[in-house]
Amino acid sequence: MIEGAGPEELEAWTGKMWNAALAGDEYAAADAAMTVLDSGITMESLLLDVIASVQARVGREWAANRITVAEEHTATAVNERVIAALAHHPTARDRARTQPRRGRITVACIDGEWHAMPARLLAEVLRLRGWHVDYLGAQVPTPHLIAHLHRTDTDLVALSSSIATRLPDAHAAITACQATGTPVLVGGAAFGADGRHARLLGADAWATDARQAAGHLSGGPPPRPSPGRQAIDDLPHLGDQEYTLITRSAAELVRHVMGELERHIPEMAGYTARQRRHTAEDIAHIVSFLGAAVYLDSPELFGDFLTWTAAILTARGVPAATLLPALTLLGDRLSDFPRATLMLQHGRDALSASDDHPARPARPAHGKPA
């Protein structure tokens, strides 16, 4: 899998870079990166086996409440700076120069997607493999993305999304790109560990990571899709309007559940403003994940989110049992919606099951209810 380095060696480098990133020491991190290259490890391996591992650890440590939000952002910023510096490294420049010229690829994050690192790594790896890459960065509004496609003759759009609540937006972006005749490759935790949501949303290709994506494209981009498909063509169940109604009344649903919770749970009277806000944010997350699950007609998506949230809350000393009454209150409110009702029931079952076997907070398709 890796040229020129064993797993132990890579792990050692990852540890060094992790410490530097956590300390916010970009120079130590950059020095470590240069030493890795000097030791004969390829640029691609450095990006995908070392830096990506550091970034994955950032997510795990945050989920387990072992690092603060500030540390999480700092470590990410250090990684970004190191990647920026590496792009100017002679190895990367020579590599990109000597590779045969391939087509042109646009790499972007879905609107509302802030985790830019996976897309950034993909962009760098594709450049190393000889593609002309336009990297548009985090949270790209779909109109900007489409305007870019009209301006440039792009062979493929690679879209990244880590949070499942962004999937309806991802679907809009995928169909909009395809309507310009541009094929779309998607990646990121939001699309499911097996890429099921990518298929459901009509993406032309899906990859688990940058290496796989680059491998997929080694034989050239997929054929241009024929335009003329709309979202409802992929997901006929959207015709029942449940997604529309839940999404439109999301804020009202949150207010209703908050009000009822305060009436039913006496302890809430003693909550600080901050605690109250966190509760409201948690409920808002539940509602938006419910919306995404209804959009995709995927009870598992909702169940996975709840067990993941339960683990996050447990790691922060908040009893996850508080999620159940919220689900019940939402169920009362949405009793006219058969699919939402099924999702909520599935969610309650998943939560009860995870109570017995607490899940490890490793699932990255999270909503960061922090």
Partner: protein, 564 residues
């Protein structure tokens, strides 16, 4: 009774000899008469059909080329007997109807058992077949134009339009096609699609006058009919490898908005039928659509280029280190379709390390492009006032005068931040003019507002302001922001204002962050707070005293080698 039928009828014995003929049949088949073998009086397809019929079964199955049973619509044009041979014997004693030509017309022969043999009723099918064929052609053309519109409308990229035009032409009209647009510089942009359907897009230094009708088409003159064009004159860039000898050629203009968008050349190999007049007309119909799409794409590209040029001055500048002070900014216009708005910032780096750099963040009234144009004027004015930046009050006073001399309905709030690095620390002079005071985020997470306030600019003749001086220790950040941040409405309950209090609380979690992480954090919190809701322009700038020595102090080690 059938003797007087308006249809030709022949009664034929099992032996193949004609028994009876009516008047209509005699008019059609002049030699047909009782006693004459059918094969002598009628075309072979009819005789063979009779031979295969149950009435003639005694003679065994016919293995020669036969006219088959009528298989519904007949594909393709009708060359001689139709349709082509269809294998398999006709079951039962009476065969189904068959079709074939007699003279220039097409007939359907329907056998009916009649006493001693089979009565063949001949029904003239010429008009019917013509209608069928016309309908089929029309349907194919409609489907093609539909496909063409779909593909051409999907993109506003000129190269893609050219490629699509060439590809579509080869799929439906010709063996090879070339799309050429008016010269750009010394070369003509060209898209060529060969018989395999692969498109090559190139820029060629070629002379269109070498191809009859091409220069004319590019200038919008009436088309030269295909029959006047000698295909052997086609130059090598047109008659390419893979096509073989060119048999026929059509050159048609791609009409544009007043001027031709280009020209389309269709080529057919020597073995293929030439272009009929109808096909030439249809090619022009397709060219009209392709030309319209290409013109729209060209117009879009031109407009985009103009917008980009004009916008360049209005876009927020790229952030960079200011003489060892780290800095990051984020900007989000009110509308996702736009790139600029009424919030702005600017950076003016000092030429010498020891001097002050100036950072400006401001907010003019209004949104969108109109507001952005005003921000451009203010940025230009401030640029001119830079030599006075040591005195914020003087700069603001002069800017106020400039704005008052114009349209009085326009005003601006802003913050001036003069920034100087000294001995690992950063000295700031901060002056607010009607703007929210900057927030100082200490490395340990304490957050305090700068003590500066002042009158907004462009409204009153006399303005006042108070400047605060702040020192940033390593890891401290000064955050400048516009009211789009604190006045954002949304949150989990959907109707709350974000507010300064909440911003401070969030920033307390951000102590010691690098500036881009902090700016990104605020940007992200805002994105989550507003959700999909409406919002104003938002801008933030984080100015940070680095926690470690600057690149230049690293001494050729580390990333400085490559970032210099």
């Amino acid at each position: 009774m059938w003797l007087s039928a308006p249809y030709p009828v022949l009664v034929v014995a099992a032996s193949g000899v004609i028994l009876q003929v009516n008047d209509a049949a005699r008019l059609l088949l002049t030699t047909a008469a009782p006693g004459v073998p059918l094969a002598d009086a009628a075309p072979g397809w009819l005789a063979r059909a009779h031979g295969r019929s149950g009435a003639a079964r005694t003679s065994g199955p016919d293995t020669g080329p036969v006219a088959g049973p009528v298989p519904g619509p007949v594909p393709g044009p009708v060359p001689g007997p139709v349709p082509g041979p269809v294998p398999g014997p006709v079951p039962g004693p009476v065969p189904g109807p068959v079709r074939g030509t007699i003279g220039e017309r097409t007939f359907e022969a329907r056998p009916v058992p009649s006493g001693q043999g089979l009565a063949w009723w001949l029904i003239d099918h010429t008009e019917h077949e013509l209608t069928e064929r016309t309908l089929r052609t029309e349907r194919e053309r409609t489907a093609f134009l539909d496909e063409a519109s779909n593909e051409l409308l999907s993109t506003l990229n000129l190269d893609r339009c050219m490629e699509a035009t060439a590809r579509l032409a080869v799929r439906h009209l010709a063996d090879a096609a070339l799309v050429i647009t008016p010269r750009a510089g010394h070369k003509h942009p060209v898209a060529y699609c060969g018989p395999q359907g692969t498109v090559v897009r190139e820029d060629l230094a070629i002379d269109p006058r070498l191809v009859p009708g091409l220069a004319e088409a590019l200038q919008g003159f009436p088309p030269v009919p295909s029959r006047w064009i000698d295909p052997s004159t086609a130059p090598g860039w047109l008659a390419r490898e893979g096509l073989g000898a060119v048999g026929s050629m059509v050159v048609t203009a791609l009409p544009g908005h007043g001027v031709p968008a280009g020209a389309l050349v269709l080529l057919r190999g020597a073995g293929q039928a030439g272009f009929s007049e109808g096909e030439e007309v249809f090619a022009r119909l397709f060219a009209t659509r392709a030309g319209a799409a290409m013109s729209a794409a060209r117009l879009y590209a031109e407009q985009t280029a103009i917008t980009e040029t004009l916008m360049r001055e209005l876009l927020p500048p790229k952030t960079k280190d200011l003489n060892g002070v780290e800095l990051a900014a984020r900007y989000r216009p009110a509308r996702d379709t736009e790139f600029v708005g009424g919030d702005f910032y600017d950076l003016h780096q000092a030429t010498d390390d020891g001097d002050e750099s100036l950072v400006v963040l401001g907010d003019v009234c209004g949104k969108g492009l109109e507001a952005a144009v005003l921000t451009g004027k203010i940025r230009n004015t401030l640029q001119a006032l830079l030599p006075m930046a040591g005195d914020h009050q003087r700069v603001l006073g002069l800017l106020n005068g400039v704005l008052l001399s114009g349209d009085r309905s326009r005003f601006v709030t802003l913050v001036l931040a003069s920034v100087r690095r000294s001995a690992g620390r950063v000295a700031l002079r901060l002056t607010s003019a009607g703007h929210a005071p900057p927030l100082i985020v200490r490395a340990d997470g304490r957050v305090e507002a700068a003590r500066t306030k002042g009158t907004l600019i462009g409204m009153l003749d006399d303005i006042t302001s108070v400047t605060d001086t702040v020192t940033l220790e390593p890891g401290d950040t000064c955050l400048l922001y516009t009211d789009g941040v604190t006045e954002a409405v949304g949150g989990p309950l959907g109707n709350e204002m974000f507010g300064e209090q909440r911003l401070c609380e969030e920033l307390e979690q951000c102590g010691g962050m690098p500036p881009e992480a902090l700016a990104e954090r605020v940007h992200m919190l805002m994105g989550q707070w507003i959700g999909g809701g409406d919002h104003d322009d938002m801008a933030v700038i984080a100015i940070t005293a680095p926690r470690r020595a600057h690149l230049s102090a690293v001494g050729g080690q580390g990333p400085g080698r490559f970032t210099a």
